[in-house]
């Protein structure tokens, strides 16, 4: 599995120049509105013929302007969830969902429609006309349609933006399973770091048509210098751990390189590897292990670096065993606690603050 996207294209005043290479899995495209995310996705889908570029998915060359290769969209077998839905108005919901099936290769069956319909909560809507759907319902049909077309590559342009958290929590595990079990590469555009942290294998950050950062999700998200590109609030690190036990009170014990952490029971078998995103703002630093406090997760850490901007907050990079953690704290606290690189101290993370979403099974 690998995704190689090199593009050079001019669109009005907008110039796209991207050259990224990721190992497959879920590649998150991140960037502000107008950064060029949809343009990249369109190029991969074959809806845009770039002025120059090369797109190779899993070794298969889809576009190569130098060699004059340009697979037409219908032979690319991408499942594209468009930013604006694009549901067929003349087909019922069922007709929309099954549309891609007509053209899928015989034999390869793809996912079960019943399962997808269930997951997306479309059961009662199957005979509906699209015009009689709410905004979120349309978006769900679009997701289902792409998933059911038996694609070799999923392109998802802000697929969950119009959905409520409960629904998102039903869809994300499915996408995880696609990533891990079906080994389907996914190009995923989202403004939500939580989604990206959970799903992505790699993250590419676009700004004004250029690639400003591209790398494994853990690296990008735990890099304080990437914090600005992602927006202040969203910095966070990723811990890789092994499920060590499910306790009777509903907590799951996870062994990470620096010790044990507790999470509300998660749906993973004993011994499996998972990843846990810990937002920088959820991490406190203490000089000594605090007592009599509701926080369960207290990890010994070493301060690696402190990085501050103009504001009152600073980001502290912490080494925790082999993993990295980020903590956002006030400059005042840093001074009061006298934090300096090399100092041994404790990271305090409320177990509950590692939200369900931020726990994903470990792909790749």
């Amino acid at each position: 599995m690998s995704v190689e996207i090199a593009l050079r294209h001019k669109q009005g005043a907008f110039r796209l120049a991207v050259d990224m290479h990721t190992p497959g899995g879920v590649t998150a495209l991140f960037g502000r509105s107008g950064a060029g995310k949809t343009t990249v996705v369109n190029a991969v889908a074959g809806l845009l013929r770039p002025e120059a570029g090369r797109i190779v998915i899993d070794g298969e060359v889809l576009t190569d302007t130098q060699r004059g290769v340009f697979e037409p969209p219908h032979r690319r077998r991408v499942g594209y969830v468009f930013q604006e839905g694009r549901i067929f108005p003349h087909l019922s919901v069922r007709g929309n969902l099954l549309y891609g099936r007509w053209f899928a290769k015989r034999g390869t069956r793809g996912p079960e429609i019943d399962h997808i319909v269930d997951m997306l909560g479309l059961g009662k809507l199957l005979e509906r006309r699209p015009t009689a759907l709410s905004g979120g319902e349309k978006q769900r049909v679009a997701i289902g349609r792409a998933l059911l077309s038996d694609p070799r590559l999923l392109l998802m342009d802000e697929p969950l933006a119009a959905l409520d958290d409960t629904r998102k929590a039903q869809i994300l595990p499915y996408l995880e399973r696609i990533r891990d079990e079906a080994q389907l590469p996914i190009l995923y555009v989202s403004h939500s770091v939580a989604e990206v942290a959970r799903l992505a294998t790699s993250v590419a950050v676009l700004h004004g048509g250029s690639l400003v950062r591209c790398g494994p999700v853990a690296d990008v998200l735990s890099d304080p210098s990437a914090v600005r590109a992602l927006g202040v609030r969203e910095a966070g690190a990723i811990l890789i751990g092994r499920v060590a036990g499910h306790d009777s009170d509903g907590l799951t014990r996870i062994t990470v390189s620096a010790g044990e952490v507790f999470l509300p029971q998660i749906d993973a078998t004993l011994g499996s590897m998972i990843r846990v995103r810990v937002e920088a703002q959820d991490v406190m630093i203490a000089r000594e292990p605090p007592k009599n406090i509701s926080a369960l997760n207290i990890l010994p850490v070493e301060i690696i670096a402190l990085r501050g901007g103009a504001g009152p907050g600073i980001v502290v990079q912490l080494g925790s065993g082999d993993d990295r953690l980020l903590a956002r704290i006030t400059r005042r606290s840093a001074t009061a606690l006298d934090l300096t690189p090399g100092l041994q101290c404790y990271a305090v993370v409320k177990s509950m603050s590692v939200a369900r979403w931020d726990v994903g099974s470990q792909g790749v």
């Binding site: 969209p73 219908h74 694009r86 549309y99 007509w102």
Partner: protein
Amino acid sequence: MAGWLGPEEWQAVALSLRVALWATGLSLPFGIAVAWVLARRDFPGKQILNGLVHLPLIMPPVVTGYLLLLTFGTQGPVGAALQDWFGIVLAFRWTGAALAAAVMAFPLMVRAIRLSIEAVDPKLEQAAGTLGASGPWVFLTVTLPLILPGVLAGAVLAFAKAMGEFGATITFVSNIPGETRTLPTAIYTFLQVPGGESAALRLVVISVIIAMGALLLSEGLATRMARRISGA
């Protein structure tokens, strides 16, 4: 009602219906194809094709009829070839009347269909492409269903025009009772002689009733289609 019209007149009614139905039915696929090409393709000579399609609208019908005669008549290059190779005779046959009606109605049909095609959002067609549909399949499964109301409008325009076509028809296939004597020629005949107005009026009423029926039917169908799409 049967007593109201003589047998010859009934024959004209039946013939007109046959001519108009064949003219509409047979030209529809071509109309759709030409409309699609004009709406969605760019190629050298596109405007020539466009002009050709409009020609029968611009020229007086007699001229069109005369050109048809020269081209598709037994002596005409195409007419002779059709007869030699396929045994199809158009001159002085109801088939020729259908051809004349189809040619005259073609610009109307093409315009209506073309306007509908231009109204289809290409983004939907792109979406179908990403789902694995190749060009012809996209057309069949997305474009065509979406333009059906326009196709219907084009077809009913063509049918109405075919029911009323006179000048090109009589010039090309003349007026042979039972073969090419359509309603408009019958009406024309009555109008030539003093006192023939009431007989002509009867036939006018018949043809108006038929065309109105087709019109109402198409409106009803189009409304249903539109409702299915708009979900109302």
